[in-house]
């Protein structure tokens, strides 16, 4: 297992679009890094550049300290799990797992008994023992995915690459597999680069996350840090459900003004100055005495939670109510009524961009 370094990595396509713009990123040995971002942000590009499936325009990529820019994919010692699993449809699970190992040659050749040992090891680790002689089309989605993971792991790769592996599964299975993936990582401990657009996966799986937008790195940090201290409004709105309330306005002299809406900034933001976004998460926004007056637009009752949609001065925000203890029922204020909203506490943030 090795560390990975992207050094000023740049990818520009033939038609001029910039896939990746000067990425500087380091993945430590054994770390589970999640590349997160919306579609087109460059996360899959970064993965494919690391894999060697596409060529770098500029910069370098190092694996274990060695530059791998020009090495063919097979030489880089990687294992990859594709979004579509890319299993070999005409081979059994056992053959799928062992195919790459059986095709090794020369000084890299893996002896047959070693091949068998590794396949059995992967099968037991991934609970595939009963499926070894079946073909991919006879397997469930979850099993297929495990075969894909197994195929990547039998190579004892230096780095494990995963390209949105859970997006083809239904919601329930996805939840289960998230837990499984975390457990697996604790077992095999390989450096992992995981690409996804789902921030829940990122938050639950990652040791650290790297958020990309339009080919540029926005923030590289532990998940909770990124959640609590987002580097900019994009990160802030990307992490967390429901998304953080962002109000565009102006801060001056300890007060925030956004058109007709105005309120005092919390103490830790007193020095904020100039145009920007005020951000506060819905779970930190409450309907409570002494708050800023908002009009209630509507309520979504989800059972254990309720989301209140509130409006003032043309700005819409959400307040999240969560059941605590034995409180049976959420408050049911009338839509259209005026509600006081507390939206200033120590978690509030101000972003210049």
């Amino acid at each position: 297992m090795s560390d990975v370094e992207f050094k000023a990595t740049r990818k520009v396509y033939e038609d001029g679009t910039v896939g990746l713009d000067d990425l500087d990123l380091r993945i430590e040995e054994g770390e589970f890094l999640v590349l997160l971002g919306p579609s087109g942000c460059g996360k899959s590009t970064a993965l494919r550049l690391l894999a060697g499936l596409e060529d770098i325009t500029d910069g370098a990529i190092n694996i274990g300290g060695a530059r791998v820019n020009d090495l063919p994919p097979g030489a880089r010692g990687l294992g990859m799990v594709f979004q579509s699993y890319a299993l070999y449809p005409h081979m059994t699970v056992r053959e799928n797992l062992s195919f790459g190992l059986r095709r090794t040659r020369g000084s890299d050749k893996v002896p047959p008994n070693e091949v068998v040992a590794r396949v059995d090891e992967a099968a037991s680790m991934l609970d595939l023992e009963k499926a070894l002689d079946k073909k991919p089309k006879e397997l469930s989605g979850g099993q297929q995915q495990r075969v894909a993971i197994g195929r990547a792991l039998v190579r004892r790769p230096k780095v494990l690459l995963m390209d949105e592996p859970l997006s083809n599964l239904d919601a329930k299975l996805r939840n289960r597999m998230r837990f499984e993936l975390r457990r697996l990582h604790e077992m095999h401990g390989t450096t992992t680069l995981y690409v996804t657009h789902d921030q829940i996966e990122a938050m639950t799986l990652a040791d650290r996350i790297a958020i990309l937008k339009d080919g540029r790195l926005q923030q590289h940090d532990k998940p909770l840090n990124a959640y609590n201290q987002p580097a900019n409004s994009f990160v802030a709105s990307f992490l967390g459900t429901p998304a953080m309330n962002l109000i565009e306005g102006r801060a001056a002299h300890g007060r925030f003004e956004a058109g007709e809406l105005a309120f005092d900034l919390p103490p830790h933001l007193a020095d904020a100055d100039g145009p920007g976004f005020y951000g506060i998460r819905p779970e930190n926004t409450h309907i409570s005495e002494g708050g800023v007056p908002f009009t209630l637009g509507g309520v979504e009752h989800l059972g254990g939670e309720a989301i209140f949609h509130l409006e003032a001065g043309g700005h819409w925000i959400k307040a999240l109510w969560r059941r605590k203890g034995t409180e049976a029922v959420a408050p049911h204020p009338e839509p259209g009524s005026q509600q006081p909203v507390i939206l200033t506490d120590s978690s509030a943030l101000f972003f210049k961009e």
Partner: protein, 495 residues
């Protein structure tokens, strides 16, 4: 003195005659074609000759176009000229090439062939084997005992004859049985459809009220004009149907099949057909795959141009391509021009076979190329990327990923290709007609089963035997297809 004058006169008279007889070659026999048509596929010629002791035989040459040299014509027969002492005349209509000499049936030699008296001035023969409905040019060439022509072989002036006599030694075939059969089939099909329609109405399926009406014309057409002929054909195999007595064929059981198996050259023609079909199919798949792979490369400049050109052998009407290749393989054709030789590729048995296979390969590659190209595009690219990350070489990717996944397309397509090649008539017929000639009634060196059956049916006119051959061909194909599919299913299961 009077004797001298007489002698001079005789000499003076005889001289020119003798000079004519000796100094120059004998003048050509005067040939004319009789107006009467002696029979089906027969042309009657009348020949006026000047008796000449040098003539040992008359050769009858013929061709489909006018010719001036024997090089452009075919030899029909040779009639010997000899002394007829001790020979007997034949009876009228007794043998095929019935000949008359000076108005009487010709003498027959020991083998029963007609001969011409040394002193005959006129003889006529009915030439058989003429193709009806077409003009045929005929010339008669006297030859000496050494086989040398006694007239200028490049200055011939053939006459044209034609026979349109229809094959009617018996009254016209009775159309009624066939009409009855067709009529009853059509009626019973209609009854069946009506019955099915009623069944549907009773079951309450009202939405498909018109279905049977829509389907009726096609189904009736199919059953009448495909099933009925197939069954009729199978039935024919058990009769002695022949072109000479159409309409009153008799049941002969398995006699035709016995004839088939006993035919000389039966194994030879079957063997060549198999070799032909297998070689064709293998080459079609191989080159089709090669081209499909080449054209599948992303970003290949000129891909559409290449693809369009490679479609040409399929787009150009097949018979035109084959005839063109025929021309190119002539001694003065393109292939010889390129190689700088003048080999007649279609003359020798082995070279003709090879060349005929190569031409058919040329014809069939585009279809295979297009089919495999579609199958290649259907392969997922992801799978290859996964293999690439796994470090599998390009060749191994092809061998272990591409080929196995193409199998599901290649198996049915190659079977179809095999059957198509097996039954491919145009190429061989238009290149060689099955020649080089091997023997009378035998398949030629390049005959495959289908071209041989064609000649049995339409050149020798033995419909019953031809039908027996057809049934056997069909059975062969069924057995082969079954075995092939079984074998490929088996390997697929273990793959």
């Amino acid at each position: 003195m009077r004797v001298l004058r007489l002698w001079a006169a005789v000499t003076l008279l005889a001289l020119p005659i003798m000079a004519q007889a000796q100094a120059q070659p004998q003048t050509q026999p005067r040939v004319s074609v009789a107006d009467t048509e002696p029979g089906y596929r027969q042309i009657q010629i009348d020949v006026a000759v000047s008796p000449d002791p040098r003539v040992a035989a008359y050769e009858i040459w013929f061709a489909e176009n006018s010719f001036s040299s024997t090089r452009d014509a075919l030899l029909h027969s040779r009639i010997a000229v000899m002394d007829v002492d001790g020979l007997e005349r034949g009876a009228p209509g007794e043998n095929y090439d019935y000949c008359q000499v000076d108005g009487l049936p010709a003498y027959l030699d020991a083998d029963g062939n007609a001969v011409i008296d040394r002193n005959a001035a006129r003889w006529s023969c009915a030439l058989t084997g003429m193709v009806p409905g077409r003009d045929t040019w005929i010339a008669v060439v006297p030859v000496s005992a050494d086989g040398l022509a006694l007239v200028d072989v490049d200055g011939l002036q053939p006459v044209s004859g034609r026979t349109d006599a229809s094959d009617e030694r018996t009254p016209p075939p009775d159309t009624r049985p066939v009409l009855y059969a067709l009529g009853s089939i059509i009626l019973s099909t209609i009854v069946l459809l009506v019955f099915l329609r009623q069944r549907d109405a009773r079951k309450g399926r009202t939405r498909s009220r018109l279905a049977h009406v829509y389907v009726a014309p096609a189904v009736i057409g199919l059953i009448t004009l495909t099933f009925y002929p197939i069954l009729y054909g199978i039935g024919l195999a058990f009769t002695d149907a022949d072109q000479s007595h159409l309409g009153d064929e008799a049941w002969v059981g398995l006699k035709n099949f016995v004839t088939v198996f006993a035919s000389p050259g039966m194994w030879r023609v079957t063997g060549f057909t198999l070799v032909w079909a297998i070689a064709n199919t293998a080459a079609h798949v191989f080159f089709g795959l090669l081209l499909a792979l080449a054209l599948n490369r992303a970003g290949l400049t000129g891909k559409t141009v290449y693809r369009t050109v490679f479609l040409l052998p399929w787009a150009i009407p097949g018979y035109i391509s084959v005839l063109a290749w025929n021309g190119m393989l002539q001694p003065e054709g393109l292939v010889n021009g390129v190689l700088g030789t003048s080999i007649d590729f279609l003359a020798g048995a082995d070279s003709a076979r090879l060349v005929v296979i190569l031409v058919n390969i040329w014809l069939g590659i585009p279809f295979m190329m297009m089919t495999l190209s579609g199958a290649l595009q259907a392969l997922s690219a992801d799978m290859f990327e996964a293999a690439e990350v796994d470090g599998v070489s390009r060749w191994d990717q092809f061998r272990y990923l591409t080929l196995p996944n193409l199998k599901s397309t290649m198996v049915p397509v190659s079977l179809l290709g095999f059957i198509w090649s097996f039954n491919s008539f145009n190429t061989i017929y238009l290149m060689t007609r099955g020649n080089p000639y091997v023997g009378f009634g035998e398949p030629g060196a390049t005959d495959i089963l289908i071209t041989y059956v064609f000649s049995v049916a339409f050149e020798y006119g033995q419909y019953g035997v031809a039908a027996a051959w057809s049934v056997l061909i069909f059975l062969m194909l069924v057995v082969f297809s079954w075995l092939y599919l079984k074998k490929t299913r088996a390997t697929e299961a273990s793959a």
